[in-house]
Symmetry: C2
Subunit: 539 residues, 2 copies
Amino acid sequence: MKNRNGHIKRQERHIAMHIRSVGLQFHPKPNYIHQFEMALSKFNLFHYQLNAVSCFLNRQLPKSARCLSTVLVPGEASGPSVKTTVPGPKSRQMIADLDKIQFAGSVFYFTDYKNSLGNYVVDADGNSILDVFSQISSLPLGYNHPDMHKVVQDPDNQIAFINRPALGIFPAQGWPEKLTNSLLSVAPKGHTQVNTMACGSCSNENAFKAAFMWYRNKQRGGASISDEENSSCLVNRAPGSTPFTIMSFKGSFHGQTLGCLTTTHSRSIFKLDFPALDWPIASFPRYKYPLEDHVKENEAEDRRCLAEVEEQFEIYNKAGKFVAGVVVEPIQAEGGDVHASPEFFQQLQRITKKNGAALILDEVQTGGGATGKYWCHEHFNLPDPADFVTFSKKMLTGGFYSLPEFRPQQGLKIFNTWMGDPSKVLLLEKVVQVVKRDNLLKLVELSGKKLMDGLKDLSNRFPQHMKNNVRGIGTFCAFDLTSPQKRDEAFFRLQQHGVQSGPCGEQTIRLRPFLVFQPKHADIFLDVLEKVLKEIQTP
Amino acid sequence: MKNRNGHIKRQERHIAMHIRSVGLQFHPKPNYIHQFEMALSKFNLFHYQLNAVSCFLNRQLPKSARCLSTVLVPGEASGPSVKTTVPGPKSRQMIADLDKIQFAGSVFYFTDYKNSLGNYVVDADGNSILDVFSQISSLPLGYNHPDMHKVVQDPDNQIAFINRPALGIFPAQGWPEKLTNSLLSVAPKGHTQVNTMACGSCSNENAFKAAFMWYRNKQRGGASISDEENSSCLVNRAPGSTPFTIMSFKGSFHGQTLGCLTTTHSRSIFKLDFPALDWPIASFPRYKYPLEDHVKENEAEDRRCLAEVEEQFEIYNKAGKFVAGVVVEPIQAEGGDVHASPEFFQQLQRITKKNGAALILDEVQTGGGATGKYWCHEHFNLPDPADFVTFSKKMLTGGFYSLPEFRPQQGLKIFNTWMGDPSKVLLLEKVVQVVKRDNLLKLVELSGKKLMDGLKDLSNRFPQHMKNNVRGIGTFCAFDLTSPQKRDEAFFRLQQHGVQSGPCGEQTIRLRPFLVFQPKHADIFLDVLEKVLKEIQTP
């Protein structure tokens, strides 16, 4: 018994460490962890039967209905299967091994990518887990999608995987076509210009830079660059170094390099101890739910936040810290899946334009199809195209679209050695084809509806645990628990029952399934969530 | 004749645009471009004969001597072969195509990576060019190295190419071993800790952040983090946001995100129009050459620069803008291949340590073997291991080594979605094996000596064009022309004769050959350079 208790204590500490490390306020709950362990050997959940004929049926369907077929990734598991605690003993050993080399406190578990397939990730202990977090929303088609395998098996493509160029100087022949077939084929309305980058942070940093250049050129009004500008910027001084700023919103997340971090405000763990620039910050709407019962309050909230935007423009522009751009997520993801109305974004565009600044939509997390459109802001019916749309994650390459007026006037300004990675664009080209062929944006809409209906139903049935603020577009859904502690427990229990979700904000669970997430997967998820809500012990 | 002149004018404008776009002060020289065109059809340079038996002989050599064998990459061309101007008409068309999608002013030419092999890059017009720039020093083993092909052909490895994880949360099983076999197997002396990142800028940004955390924790002296710190940092205010700084050197290049840009001072084009932080800057030694004739002056130069470092520490620390770290390149590459003595670096380490700051060696360009050691600073005989060594480029993945005291205390602080890319580490693991198997660091030493001897000889024979400041370690060599205009012409003529070099600084040409660059390639390069020096027309 002593050993058993010791084991549970160790496990509890381990879990607490892991959840804390991602910023959750986890309070060790020996009771539920203990009970979970006891129960684990007694029941064997989730033996959803594989529909053996679905593969066959799939091939009989017309293309337009393929997304509705039962099997999009042949051979995918029929449900989660959990044999150990998550993380299990093998993962824990590997975490200890990794921790000798680097701080490993953020690792949830080690993964057996070879045996992962479709929506199911298999961990090092052989647990098969329904993954609705998709590598922080970054893997579009699930694990080992057969079409992705084809890309890397093609000898012509392998050239790109092993000869990474300095893309800004020596691109491969055919590169403009590759960009056209991939990024530009799904560009936001009105966009014909695109630059690739390696990651989301670099994408935002370079969009900021492009906005600064554009703003300064407007100020110059055609005057040539002075010697003083050229010499002063070398030592970080005016006039060559500008006092320009980018406005951002409370609760936002735009990356973790120092420029991006200045515009990030979601959680102190990202920012504490680091220097930041003095850039303007406005409030982002925080709506009351259900939306239909709080129309007036929420309209007032939009007005309050937009007034702050106007005010920040005035304060900073008057102080000579000219606001060259406003960066905003269409949905604040890391900050807790905070939504704002289309009207808010329409007005924000109007105010930004009026103040001579660029609107930078950070679609790093919202882009790539999870909202049922490639770009979340396409749901907002903006009067004009966004000035910049930045991306990464599900697009496999980082980068940004921008309107032609934001093209740099000189080389090397929006630049680095690699400027992205053509091999990622080859993969993206195939993703775009599969999304079209398998009608996956329609699927996102259908699966999203199923998810939202189910979540709303559960929030009505479990008001003691779930707040009545289920929200989402497509499968980009989230819900709040009634306390941070309950969120931690729900997140933990979901994992133990074979569902990998994503925590965000204070007490939110976000769902970021793959684009091959189907209504049947939504059913499985909702069943597990219901079970978890019944089990929650946190008072 | 009118057409021909029109053609030359267009070509001249095009070349001028391209060279200017990379910051060279190019002055159109219709004469030499015209003469080059005329001569092109008359001679057919560079028909070095392939030694047909060398493949066979190679296999008979003991491993220790493999690097001396004639053929390291079977099938490699025996010399450059140029059929058109560089860039040729096909490249120029593709540049025009790309320019419709993005500003393409930095592109030299489009490349046929499929037909490139070893040290020779083939451009879209079929010109085979001896590449001593290696994609801005980023590709270690040349084009289509057979061992690199094996990595991507292996079905087990293909898993990593198509299932990119959020590495900080869900690493693949076996990941600690992969890090051990690759990055840690070639770690700088004294280093056991490594973090991966996607690119050089992110590597430096995160090393800065780790230094800031470490410095703040020292200041706290074990006190816990206050609520005020947590809340103030969210809006970029003290005490949570710190006034900490990183010291850098004039002429340095550390990347192009806003934090890195604050420490970059090599050329105004990188910095103009962007905001920068107020961080300390000291002078980097500028030696008189030949070194042996200026020992006293150069020692004084070291002292002058080190006194500035001390002074900057005092000024910034006294002002409360505490200097948490000093970032420095072992050789300032982008800034013009500026070397400093081992004694300078030894003293810099001593001063940095005395002031309680971290020494961050930026080996993004100098690392990976081109100096004959994996890390250039290993030539400096530093009394202690460097606190941080950042890398990217030839290491294929970005990241940094750091001493154990710089480990973060919490997760998510040195973090982003991808945290590098395991597929790059798989490639690196093979590179490290090949470097060892083929004794490539020894080869770098031998080829480097050949290069340096040849360059010195040419600088003696062509004092009207080449400055007497040839410098280098291993194959990481550079030389100056006697004016920026001559450098531009030499760079252009080298390209036309089938050699791709790299410009840097004001009037420098840098050589960054692959690790499979052999003495025979050095001979070819030196022959072409001699030819170019004879042809130079710029007065």
